[in-house]
Amino acid sequence: MKFSVLSDIGQKRLVNEDRAAMYVRSDFVHLGVIADGMGGHNAGDIASEMAITQIGELFESATAKDFSSVETIKHWFKSAIQTINHAIFHYSLTHEDCQGMGTTFLAVLTKGKDTVICHIGDSRAYEWHSGRMRQLTKDHSYVNILVENGEISKEEAECHPQKNLITKSLGTEKTIEPDFISFNFPTYSHLLLCSDGLSNKLSLEDMTSILSNRATVNEKAIQLVNLANQNGGEDNISLVLITNAKEEV
């Protein structure tokens, strides 16, 4: 398992409100996380920082039993998410400048072949396998709801003015229900977690061609971020790239 974690401020923003991390336990359980903060008076980075730090602490202190099956992993995620949601929500109520702050939350936990994705907001997870990419997560976004309700087409959604409105975020409501996706992480594949600063700037074809080239994981990650910056880099750009493809060295 090899991974690369990058979080770039981009070309226009003054603050990086994104956070990204990869945690590895000594029992070879891995956790990759992306949090894209928002809201409050310049407090988006507080929410994303809280999310990343707390999930890491909960992950390190969990027992091996918590990750013994897909079901227990989901259960662990649910309770961790409630804890963090409460912490951010409470913090935002007690700190005036932080009112309304929240963050997207996207985490992938792998244990052997068992892989569980936990997802809130519009940060995205993609799987690359044998030259093909598919998006695993479904954005919790307003435009996605408009598409699902047949109000607008997928093409209209691409350049919709309210593209960034999200309908679910960690820390903005009393309770939160994350989405789960579980699957077998096949060998010779990549898993890409990213904030919308990347997914808004790169087409699926762009990502596919970078992930399909023969560069190392670190080089691929850098190429992805560089391309997002070349394409404007209006937003923070963060990613976690995990691969179990054996690199030819």
Binding site: K2, F28, T167, N218
Partner: protein, 649 residues
């Protein structure tokens, strides 16, 4: 905080009177003109977005051109450092939202009065090509009794523009959002008309037309749910007034008032006597909708027609063909039968003299001695002829078996009769059965009436069931019924039962067993075994309990003793990138391995990295075990892997 400070040296900030979201509103004193003003200070940092900054200034400035009794006057647009602000007329009073909370539902007369002012103000703005885009009671101030002023012209646009350059903002107030705005389209003058319709609904009922758990669900209702009837809440509201709400809030902008002036004119006489019995507002169905119904009807009619035709054809056709076949066959059969009957009748008529007289019947002399039989035959006028002997199972020797012609036949007197006389039971020459299979022979003998057939079994080298000898011997003349036939048959060779050789026999004892049993032991292979000691039998073929002929082979596998476990070597090269926070600083690399000789507890290698390096990883992995490696740079794992024994060659 800005309290007590002077903005641009001119406006002294006195107190905060509102705010939230993107802006705060302060009461300030204009030191030059000596009047109270409201200052709206934007919280948004435009410094990174020049386009937006210019746009904000342009739009705010254009709003300063609006002068109307029902529009909050904008005096100035300015900036100081990062601070963007608007200086506005200070309106002492509360927002229409507060008024609705306190006073709604308001009477139709009062509601119409307020709406007339609002439509007049918006009409003025629209004439100046300014669209408000965010009309809501929160943006309407009440100055004294029933005098309203709209504020925040133009800013809504800028603010909504900023909100989408920011990531992940949550949907704002959506209660007055027109369907086209909810869908993401740009706001038009018709969007302002829609919002005015919602404000009227709220004034009349004190409620919002659409509510829901989330902003999103409300936005969807603006898109998909018809505005609820005002009269459903308050039946005494005139239909004409409800119609204003319905027309202003039509989903399709084309069905709304064409202009806000049209809405304003409608409001002027909406409560007049002559409009008391107005019909409810209804949108004319467009062509698409009216066509849809006949299309569906046509489809159903076609199905109804199609089905019965189909089933009639299926059930009738086969019936017709069956009847056809029957009609054709019957005449042929009838014809054949009558022809046969006619033929039979014809034969009887043609030979009438066939049964003539002067004949004698041949008597039955069977079972009588020949002399007696001759007497009888000659007694009826027949002549005794030749005698032929024949063996017979049931007629004694010397007695007549039958005559030719046989008894009962009618013959002319003097006809010669031949006698068949019994020679007694038939004797046969016994066949040679030796060498044949007893089962086969038994089948043959079953048809011959031997007194008995016995078998005696004994071991022999002949195959099992083969007849070794017989008594009487072959070619003896015998009468089966009086003969006891005895066969000696082979049971096959004497067999040996294989014993269990595994675990307790080694080469020495196997030899002893081979000699004593008469079986051959063949060692075909030697294999490793964890639990059978070296030199002893691991397995044998055939297995214990099998019957074997003497001289047969037993194949055994001997143990070579336990094997040393197989170990494979896994080698890979891993790139350790030199990516320090600061160029030149050291990075400490620790390599952890887990294999036959290492555990992950302690690093097997530890060094300082000054440039990107290729690290060789070598693991000795025992069969059935896993190996692993983990590479840490400073305190972070940069790569780890579990290697299964079977996962590589």
């Amino acid at each position: 905080m800005l309290l007590g400070k002077r903005i641009s040296g001119r406006y002294k900030v006195l107190e905060m009177i509102g705010g939230g979201g993107m802006s705060n509103v302060y009461l300030a004193h204009d030191m030059i003109l000596d009047r109270d003003v409201a200052i709206k200070v934007l919280r948004y940092d435009f410094s990174i977005e020049d386009d937006l900054h210019r746009r904000f200034q342009r739009e705010a400035l254009s709003a300063t051109s609006l002068t109307h009794p029902n529009i909050v006057n904008i005096f100035d647009v300015g900036e100081e450092g990062d601070l963007q602000y608007l200086v506005m007329e200070y309106v002492k009073g509360k927002t229409l939202k507060h008024y609705i909370i306190d006073a709604a539902p308001v009477s139709p007369v009062e509601a119409v009065n307020i709406m007339k002012q609002l439509t007049s103000a918006i009409a003025h703005a629209h004439q100046n090509q300014i669209i408000h885009r965010d009309i809501k009671p929160q943006n309407i101030l009440m100055d004294g009794i029933e005098h309203v002023k709209i504020t925040d012209f133009g800013i809504a646009m800028t603010l909504s523009a900023t909100s989408f350059t920011q990531t992940n903002s949550v949907l704002g107030t959506v209660h007055y959002l027109s369907p086209e705005q909810a869908r993401g389209g740009t706001a038009t003058k018709k969007s302002d008309i829609y919002a005015l319709g919602i404000v009227l609904y709220e004034l009349l009922t004190g409620k919002l037309p659409f509510s829901g758990e989330s902003a999103v669900s409300i936005a969807l209702k603006h898109l998909q749910t018809d505005t609820p009837s005002v009269r459903a809440v308050l039946p005494n509201i005139p239909q004409s007034l409800e119609n204003v709400v319905m027309k202003a809030t039509a989903k399709d902008p084309r069905n709304r008032y064409q202009t806000v002036e049209e809405m304003e004119r409608d409001l002027h006489n909406v409560l007049s006597e002559e409009r008391a019995n107005e019909k409810a507002f209804a949108i004319l169905e467009d062509d698409g909708a009216t066509k849809a119904i006949p299309v569906i009807k046509d489809g159903m009619r076609y199905e109804q027609l199609a089905k019965p035709i189909h089933s009639e054809m299926k059930s009738k056709l086969p019936q017709i063909s069956v009847e056809d076949k029957k009609k054709k066959k019957w005449p042929i059969i009838m014809g054949v039968i009558s022809l046969l009957m006619l033929l039979g009748l014809g034969i009887i008529i043609a030979f009438p003299g066939i049964f003539g007289p002067q004949k004698v019947e041949i008597p039955n002399v069977a079972n009588l001695p020949l002399t007696e039989a001759i007497d009888i035959v000659e007694g009826v006028g027949l002549v005794a002829g030749n005698e032929t002997s024949e063996s017979s199972d049931d007629i004694e020797k010397g007695q007549v078996i039958r005559t030719i012609p046989q008894s009962g036949k009618i013959r002319d007197e003097g006809t010669e009769i031949e006698f068949i006389v019994s020679s007694g039971k038939e004797s046969v020459s016994l066949a040679d059965y030796v060498g044949r299979d007893i089962n086969e022979v038994k089948d043959l003998l079953a048809r011959q009436n031997f007194e008995s057939v016995r078998t005696i079994e004994e071991y022999s080298n002949e195959p099992a069931d083969r007849i070794i000898s017989q008594n009487p011997i072959a070619n003896s003349e015998i009468i089966p019924e009086e003969t006891e036939l005895v066969f000696t048959i082979s049971k096959g060779p004497r067999l040996l039962t294989v014993i269990d050789l595994t675990k307790s026999y080694n080469e020495q004892t196997l030899n002893d067993y081979a000699q004593s049993s008469g079986l051959n032991i063949r060692i075909i292979k030697e294999s490793f075994s964890e639990d059978i000691p070296k030199g002893f039998v691991i397995s044998q073929t055939p297995k214990v309990g099998t019957k074997l002929k003497p001289g047969s082979n037993i194949e055994v596998v001997l143990s070579k003793g336990p094997v040393a476990k197989k170990i494979k070597t896994f080698v890979t090269m891993v790139e350790i990138p030199y990516e320090p926070e600061e160029q030149g600083t050291e990075q400490i690399v620790r390599i952890y391995l887990q294999d036959q000789t290492h555990s992950l507890a302690e690093p097997v290698e530890e060094y300082v990295l000054t440039e990107t390096k290729m690290q060789r990883i070598q693991l000795q992995i025992e069969e059935g075990q896993k190996g692993a490696y983990r590479i840490m740079v400073n305190s972070k794992v940069i790569e780890d892997e579990i290697i299964e024994y079977d996962s590589f060659e």
